[in-house]
């Protein structure tokens, strides 16, 4: 895959995920639930050890954009940069040793295997929702009152991200045939 192609695919990914995010949150209007599906974009970014700074800056930019949409300046920016940073270590643990510094890896279902992939997505999705909820309420009273909703949000987002990845994987494999 050429470098230019990768760029185009990532931009399309970003637009796709942001649209999905807006559509889901506009379609499912129910009490106290927020589904942050767009983080799928961060989770499936191609990963190299050496381009950490660009990833963080990208996370900052996209987080800020989402914040502007939700009138929550700072919350998503913080959470996005955080999961992009921690993703680095998580991938280091989960991906096979010996993958060199310069090789680009896409953390997808096919590259990681079901078990590791599920764990990877679950960890980062949970972390993201936890951080956003805590920053939004910044008090533990609200936190416990909202715990069931938080769990539901995490589960729904998790399912959507997982399905979106399978869907995109299917498109990718038909294109390469």
């Amino acid at each position: 895959m050429s470098k230019r192609n990768t760029w185009l695919i990532q931009v399309a990914n970003l637009v796709g995920y942001l649209t999905l995010q807006l559509v889901i949150n506009q379609a499912i209007v129910s009490f106290h639930q927020a589904y942050f599906v767009y983080i799928g974009f961060f989770l499936f970014l191609p990963w190299t050890r050496s381009n950490m700074i660009w990833q963080l800056l990208l996370g900052f930019g996209v987080g800020l954009l989402v914040d502007v949409f939700y009138d929550s300046l700072g919350i998503h920016t913080f959470a996005a940069v955080l999961i992009l940073y921690l993703r680095n270590f998580l991938l280091y643990l989960l991906l096979p040793p010996g993958s060199s510094h310069l090789v680009t890896i896409r953390p997808t279902l096919r590259n990681m295997g079901v078990q590791k992939f599920a764990l990877y997505v679950l960890f980062l999705t949970t972390l993201y929702h936890l951080v956003v909820f805590t920053l939004d309420t910044y008090s533990f009273h609200f936190f416990f009152a909202n715990l069931p909703q938080l769990l539901l949000s995490i589960i729904v987002s998790y399912l959507f991200i997982f399905l979106s990845r399978i869907f995109m994987g299917a498109i990718g494999s038909t294109r390469s045939k």
Partner: protein, 276 residues
């Protein structure tokens, strides 16, 4: 020096990470920074347009129901006007000539949230239609919130479901004044604060706006008292109010424009300044 540069280079990822996180936290918590970047909110034209497009798509299905709702509302308003006219005719020449004080600007809600503890709405009218920050927002059922920021075609509204918004209210039956504030979790209930303990409060009393500030006029419904509690040592009642407006299903709202708000505010300011 060389060592320092080396150190910075080795830890560049961590340093950039910490820098970006502190910038986001200052966006969130530092009010000074918030003032500087005030323009970054959903009343921005581009974001407003995206939300409007999505609302149009979503509303297409609901269009008919919405049309019906408007017809019904229109009818009831006409009825109200007629009643008023009748009353005026009955009073005859007693009617004093007064300046028309309140204007109502209809608008459509294009973005709404009830999921946070600080919720905002976006509507599709802005400075072009005469909307300015500080105006009250209502529906036919009751209070919705207050305008926070305006662009040319859009406006952001602080929802009643925002833990920092306080609305001056009173009990319709007795006229006792208090303050309405949201608790932060149940989007159907708000608190009515500062009702002193010597009064008797009954469940089911209507709570309305007091009209003591320039945002709303007197008597806009907020909700009904649903729960009253009085601790032995407390100075004030703990009162829960069921909201009359379903803030999760807003489609059309009215922005209340008070022509005399500046006059009222400045007079009150002058009086205050004189006596303090």
């Amino acid at each position: 020096m060389k060592k320092l540069l080396r150190f910075l280079y080795d830890y560049r990822d961590l340093l950039i990470f910490l820098l970006l996180e502190s910038v986001s936290l200052s966006l969130l918590f530092n009010h000074h920074v918030q003032k500087e970047v005030k323009k970054l909110n959903s009343s921005h034209a581009l974001i407003g347009n995206i939300y409007e497009l999505m609302t149009d798509l979503r509303m297409h299905a609901k269009w008919k129901a919405s049309y019906q709702q408007i017809l019904v509302e229109n009818a009831s308003l006409r009825e109200y006007i007629l009643q008023q006219q009748e009353m005026i005719e009955k009073q005859g020449s007693m009617e004093q000539p007064t300046t028309r004080q309140f204007d109502v600007i209809p608008a459509q809600v294009i973005n709404n949230s009830i999921i946070c503890t600080k919720n905002y709405l976006t509507i599709n009218k802005g400075t072009n239609s005469g909307i300015a920050p500080g105006m009250g927002v209502i529906t036919k059922d009751g209070v919705v919130g207050r305008v926070k920021a305006v662009s040319e075609h859009f406006a952001t509204i602080i929802s009643l479901l925002h833990t920092d918004i306080h609305i001056s209210a009173k009990l319709a039956s007795s006229g006792v004044m208090g303050t309405v504030r949201w608790l932060g979790h149940n989007p159907r209930q708000v608190n009515l604060l500062y009702i002193p303990r010597h009064l008797t409060i009954e469940v089911g009393d209507r709570v309305v706006t007091s009209g003591y500030n320039a945002t709303f006029y007197d008597g806009v419904t907020i909700g009904k008292v649903s729960h009253v509690k009085l601790d032995k040592a407390a100075m004030f009642y703990e009162i829960l109010v069921d909201l009359s407006t379903d803030l999760s299903a807003l489609q059309h709202v009215y922005v209340v424009k008070n022509h005399l708000s500046r006059e009222q505010d400045s007079l009150e300011q002058i009086t205050k300044a004189y006596y303090e």
